[in-house]
């Protein structure tokens, strides 16, 4: 057993104080790591959801608002885009595909979106992935619905399930479209994006269930029954859509088209590039992130100071220990080294435990984030930059260990052989 062995035995002897100190540091490190990880994971999660979309078009509104209500279901649209405008945009030469989004209905807390086959054909998320069906197929009959993976899982839906949609986007919508039940025709494979939290119906279906609802509530007698609707399905379309996702023939056309849409005469529109709007969003949340980072940093500092306190308070009771070591041939630097090593070991254990704790919290929080925000948060290994920060904290721990080490060094020189207690 060498000198390090002695240090270990000494630490084990003081295990309660040591474990508490390690826990203090671990908690502070976990906070720091979580703030960093969540920040980057949330950003990745948002970016995944829009990575395949070149432009998002909505009625004139703030870009961030448009992004949030169209893709992420946060907030509501104040205005819609007329059907004519949608048709016109769809036919523009630069546009490769257009996915209409008609929002406004819910099903047990999940968004219902009226859309077209373009969604299944052209929508891309993550690393250019297309939507896939875990089971079944796209809607074919007017009153068929495709459900996202989480919707099916949470509500335990299978193919053929009959469901009723609710009118309005409130969490507890009271009015039901009960005269038009839908049948689940397909279940999408998981994507880790808000798609998983959404139910999809066709635009004609969206129109059909709202006939007679023009004033926002049901007008008895004005509705259309299911067979009538099926007969007229070809000509049914909504009067407006909430937003449109556009994919362009060439990415280079994006700026020109964006300007043309924003300057569109017939209707006040907003077109955004989702990546750029996300950057704007991060600029706004950046301040809060900075504050969180500073707080986490201060907590880490508090943890390290706690370690210093423990090392200093034990220094007195360990004076005898050090005199014994000195008398048996230990050099002052070896005794100082023991204390630096101790500090380093405590800091290292705290960092390792803290990272482990952070990963654990991420693993536990991931399902909640997925069901609440549709964000897929992977339990990912901290990025290189974060490891650098952690290495810096370890070095700070060693430097802090120098304080008691220097005190012990000077004392062992001054104490000589006397063990005054």
């Amino acid at each position: 057993m060498n000198l390090l062995g002695l240090a270990f035995r000494s630490l084990i002897n003081r295990r309660f104080a040591v474990v508490l100190t390690v826990m203090t540091i671990a908690l502070s490190i976990a906070l720091l790591v979580l703030v960093e990880q969540m920040r980057s994971e949330v950003r990745d999660g948002f970016y995944r959801s829009v990575s395949g979309t070149d432009l998002i078009v909505g009625a004139r509104t703030a870009p961030i608002q448009l992004l949030l209500y169209s893709v992420f279901g946060i907030g509501d649209a104040t205005n819609n885009i007329s059907w004519q405008t949608y048709r016109e945009l769809e036919g523009t030469s630069d546009v490769a595909w257009a996915i209409p989004m008609a929002l406004g209905d819910m099903h047990r807390g999940y968004r219902v979106m009226g859309t077209g086959d373009a969604l299944f054909e052209h929508f891309r998320y993550g690393n250019r992935q297309a939507l896939e069906f875990a089971d079944g197929r796209a809607f074919d009959d007017l009153f068929e619905v495709v459900v996202g993976h989480q919707v099916a899982r949470q509500l335990d839906y299978g193919i053929g399930e009959q469901i009723v949609l609710s009118h309005g986007t409130g969490r507890t919508a009271l009015q039901q479209h009960e005269e038009h039940p839908f049948t689940v025709s397909g279940i999408l494979a998981p994507t880790g994006t808000p798609v998983d939290q959404t139910l999809y119906i066709s635009l004609p279906a969206h129109r059909a269930i709202h006939i007679g609802w023009e004033r926002g509530t049901r007008m008895p007698g004005a509705e259309m029954d299911a067979d009538q609707a099926r007969a007229r399905a070809e000509e049914l379309h909504p009067e407006s859509v909430t937003a449109i996702l556009l994919g362009l023939q060439t990415r280079a056309a994006v700026f020109g088209l964006q300007r043309r849409i924003n300057d569109y005469r017939a209707e006040a529109l907003t077109a955004i590039m989702p990546g750029i709007t996300l950057q704007e969003l991060w600029r706004i949340t950046g301040l809060a992130e900075q504050i969180l980072r500073v707080v986490a940093g201060l907590v880490v500092l508090a943890g390290l100071l706690g370690m210093l306190t423990v090392l200093l308070t034990t220094l007195n009771e360990r004076r005898r220990e050090m005199a014994i070591l000195r008398a048996n041939g230990a050099r002052p630097w070896q005794i100082a080294g023991l204390l630096v090593f101790e500090a380093g070991l405590i800091a290292a254990c705290g960092i390792i435990a803290g990272v482990a704790l952070a990963l654990l919290v991420q693993a536990i929080a991931a399902p909640w984030l997925l069901t609440t925000f549709g964000l897929h948060i992977g339990v990912s290994w901290p990025a290189a930059g974060l490891w650098l920060v952690l290495a810096g904290i370890l070095i700070a721990g060693l430097i802090i260990g120098l304080v008691p080490a220097l005190m012990a060094y000077r004392r062992t020189l001054a104490d000589g052989m006397q063990v005054k207690m």
Binding site: L6, R9, I324, A327, N328, G329, A330, M417
Partner: protein, 235 residues
């Protein structure tokens, strides 16, 4: 001429003077003190007479302000602090009044402690754990106690472990600073007898410091520290 120590001397002190930092009067002012090889010296002196300081100087823990300490013809004062630490680990055994042991180490690990800090001493010891057991046998410490933590032992047992530690690797000099003061009077004599037999077996010299003159009778020589130390009297 005092400058060359005699061959038979293990330790020779000449004109040693030491003042603790911050003090005005010296605590040590010793014109001469010698200890022969294998000699058992009893040093008597009341508390505050500078016993512990003298031991610290001999152990190389403090550097004298003036004078010389020859140990086996090496002048300790001329050595660097690191070299004095190495010298102590190689050549000395130390027994304190009490609290000799690291409480969180087991008995055996405490005994072999000096071998951790000096490779020379470890090499000289040979089979370290066998040597430790041999010494613990000689010190009458039951095998059942040897794996225990040091702080589970009685004070008397702890002092015997400390003696075994001081003697491991056969150091040339054992310094004992009031090692029996924490023991009952009937245990004192037994401890001293055990210590004597093992010091003799190791061929070590012994400098035994105590305020209690009753213990002096079996030693080769008795020295009164107040008689040889005259702080404040030097010109």
């Amino acid at each position: 001429m005092r400058s060359t120590p005699r061959m038979s001397d293990l330790l020779r002190i000449e004109d040693l003077r030491y003042t603790w930092p911050g003090e005005t009067t010296p605590v040590l002012d010793i014109p001469e003190l010698t200890i022969g090889r294998g000699e058992r010296v009893f040093m008597q002196g009341p508390s505050g007479s500078g016993k512990s300081t003298l031991l610290a100087a001999i152990a190389g823990l403090i550097r004298p302000d003036a004078g010389r300490i020859f140990f086996d013809r090496t002048d300790l004062g001329s050595l660097s602090a690191a070299a004095r630490d190495r010298f102590r680990a190689e050549h000395l055994g130390v027994i304190f009044q009490q609290f000799n042991l690291l409480p969180w180490l087991d008995v055996r690990a405490n005994v072999i402690l000096p071998c951790r800090f000096s490779r020379t001493r470890a090499k000289r010891t040979g089979d370290i754990s066998a040597a430790a057991d041999e010494l613990l046998d000689a010190m009458d410490l039951a095998p059942a106690l040897r794996g225990k933590r040091a702080d589970e032992l009685s004070v008397g047992q702890q002092q015997r472990v400390a003696a075994a530690r001081a003697l491991i690797g056969k150091p040339q000099l054992v310094l004992a600073d009031e090692p029996t003061s924490a023991l009952d009077s009937d245990r004192r004599q037994a401890f001293i007898e055990l210590l004597f037999s093992q010091v003799a077996a190791a061929g070590s010299a012994l400098l035994f410091v105590s305020h209690d003159p009753e213990l002096a009778r079996d030693f080769d020589r008795e020295v009164s520290l107040p008689a040889i130390n005259r702080p404040g009297m030097a010109a």
